[in-house]
């Protein structure tokens, strides 16, 4: 039909436009990272250079910020993944009338603008840590507050990711282990935790990345300290330099490698599962012939 051909053409055109919108700015930025002029320009391309990467490497503030970002990211992962796990388990066991309120409280950080989480974290902990001189000196720091503020909403991501897998857990597995003599804690360590492991791994990755790239909450909670993103924000505010493009190129490259690795791993896993199924089918056939 003619109209369907037109529709198809339009759809193709639209998809191209969509990805142009999505990738265009990133591609232009990437080109400026390798162009010589000190104002980040894509065209005309005046000469290939890696000097902006070198400049980035020598940017002391950014390197300090990077280190802090990694520390905060790891801190958030260590706090949020166990919290997400505990909350998903409590969600199933909590008194049924309290469940919807509990759910609301746990996902409210996802519905709250990041700046507000940052502000409330600072206001609350300033007074809470300020109760004693010791706690103020030890904990009232940008890194600690950033971990606390970010953990507030990252834990909600972790909860949702882990809970999605937990709902697929077959309760009969728990009962089977109990029936064979396992205690409840043994069921948790031997059966439930291995089952949730993939979800906890992806929760860890998402937690680290969300922490690493967070700006809205961190910009308040970081106080006088800095993370890579807040340094980046300061630099962007002051002016534009191709060094920022160079940083973006590095992040894009890392994401690309990560995404492709993930895809390959997933394919390998699927192929393995397919092989298992094939073997089960063969066994099934053999058995039917015997019976």
């Amino acid at each position: 039909m003619k109209s369907s051909a037109v529709m198809k053409g339009m759809l193709g055109f639209y998809i191209v436009l969509f990805f142009l919108y999505l990738f265009g700015p990133l591609m232009v930025m990437s080109v400026t990272a390798f162009n010589t002029p000190s104002y980040p320009q894509a065209l005309p391309f005046e000469g290939f250079t890696l000097q902006w990467f070198e400049k980035l490497w020598n940017h002391r503030l950014m390197m300090e910020g990077l280190l802090n970002s990694i520390i905060i990211g790891l801190g958030v992962v260590t706090i949020s993944v166990p919290i997400g796990l505990a909350a998903s388990i409590i969600m199933n066991q909590i008194y049924h009338r309290a469940r919807s309120l509990f759910y609301l409280v746990t996902i409210s950080p996802l519905l709250t603008p990041g700046v507000i989480i940052g502000i409330s974290t600072v206001i609350f902990w300033k007074d809470a840590f300020g109760l004693t001189d010791w706690s103020k000196a030890t904990f009232y720091k940008g890194i600690v507050l950033s971990i606390l503020g970010q953990a507030s909403f990252v834990s909600a991501y972790c909860l949702l990711i882990i809970m999605a897998r937990l709902t697929r857990f077959d309760r009969a597995q728990e009962e089977a282990a109990l029936d064979l003599g396992a205690s409840y804690p043994q069921v948790f360590w031997h059966v439930l935790l291995p089952f949730l492991k993939p979800a906890m791994l992806s929760a860890s990755v998402i937690a680290f990345l969300s922490s690493f790239e967070n700006f809205n909450t961190t910009t308040f909670a970081i106080l006088a300290d800095k993370t890579l993103v807040t340094v980046l924000a300061g630099e962007t505010r002051q002016g534009t330099t191709p060094a920022l493009s160079a940083l973006a190129v590095i992040i894009i490259a890392i994401s690309l490698v990560g995404a492709i690795t993930y895809e390959l791993l997933k394919r390998r896993e699927e192929a393995a599962a397919e092989r298992m199924k094939e073997r089960a089918r063969l066994a099934e056939r053999g058995e039917l012939e015997q019976a």
């Binding site: 919108y21 309120l101 700046v115």
Partner: protein, 334 residues
């Protein structure tokens, strides 16, 4: 006891109330499946779970929020006077949003900023819905598995570029020396570069661009589970494509639409990066006003009050969207 300490008791009262209710109910009837919490988790794990969840829900969520709200009902005082006789409850901070405390005139600037923020965020949300819906539909219903995987991969990579670099990328493109102006001037359409940033067009693009993927994933997830046969059936009955979308796909995808819209709106209204780097000088984003109260005026109570106004607006919007689409919160946030 000061109001600041009193409000901290609220969550504990709520917990106690539920605990008493649960105790009462368990006494009413025998439940053959019932195992006590400690029986089901053991002492060590039981304590660990409760400690983790209590730390999160109390110290990272409810108490800071409540504390911020209480702070917004206090006057701005130097640290030495906090808790003193001048530290009384007041709604002055909220009043200052409507009537300027310095000259007693209507505070058009802040109310204007606020309205502008809400309206533009809603517009950006709608814009992104329109941009993302066709692709989400294509990926979920008509693309081959191989193609969809590839598209997914292509979507996930830019997802992890942070907000600031995305804003930076947009800025490079539309700045007066940027590629677009180069092209416009090169082709003779205009002689002087168009000031996209000053006119806030840049910010619009930045907000839409930053939250594009937030919209597409929930849409995709919702449409994906729709049975293809339903669409086939509608097509067989001779329904034109737009009717199929209006009567079959969109009603089915409601939870996804609600989820995408609430998230995009919240992230846009609460956005700091795009307004900071892409907006012009005339019209400020509301988060920037809040930001300035904290970092330039050092007026935390007033900043808190403004933050709470923003939060209230976000909650209202979420409720409105959920009501409009007749979706429960649990369906929208998954």
């Amino acid at each position: 006891m000061s109001s600041r300490a009193l409000v901290l008791l609220v969550p504990f009262l709520v917990i106690t109330a539920f605990w008493l209710m649960a105790r009462y109910e368990s006494k009413l009837g025998h439940d053959p499946t019932h195992k006590s919490y400690w029986e089901r988790n053991g002492t060590v794990l039981g304590i660990a779970f409760i400690a983790l969840v209590a730390f999160w829900t109390l110290f990272l969520v409810t108490l800071p929020y409540l504390y911020m709200v209480v702070e917004s009902f206090h006057p701005r005082l130097p640290p030495a006077q906090r808790g003193g006789p001048n530290d009384f409850l007041t709604i002055a901070q909220y009043k200052s949003f409507i009537v300027s405390p310095t000259d007693g005139e209507w505070n058009w600037i802040h109310m204007g900023n606020f309205t502008y923020t809400i309206v533009v965020s809603a517009a950006v949300t709608f814009l992104n819905l329109c941009i993302c819906y066709p692709l989400a539909y294509y990926m979920a219903q008509s693309g081959s598995a191989q193609k969809v995987r590839l598209l997914m991969l292509a979507l996930i990579v830019p997802y992890w570029i942070n907000e600031i670099l995305r804003a930076f990328a947009v800025r490079l493109l539309i700045a007066s020396k940027g590629l677009i102006n180069q092209a416009l001037m090169g082709s003779g359409i205009t002689d002087v570069p168009i000031d996209f940033l000053g006119s806030n067009t840049g910010m619009w693009i930045g907000l839409s661009y930053a939250n594009l993927l937030i919209m597409i994933f929930p849409l995709y997830n919702a449409i994906e589970s729709l049975d293809k046969n339903q669409i086939e059936a509608a097509r067989d009955l001779g329904a034109p494509w737009w009717k199929i979308h209006r009567d079959v796909v969109i009603p089915y995808a409601k939870p996804g639409i609600a989820s995408g819209c609430t998230m995009v709106f919240m992230l846009a209204a609460g956005s700091l990066a795009a307004p900071l780097f892409l907006s012009g000088p005339q019209q400020r984003w509301f988060t920037m006003t809040v930001y300035d109260f904290f970092f330039q005026a050092f007026n935390w109570p007033r900043g808190s009050a403004y933050a709470f106004i923003l939060l209230a607006a976000c909650i209202t919007f979420v409720m409105l969207v959920l009501k409009l689409f007749k979706v429960k919160l649990g369906e929208a946030i998954r």
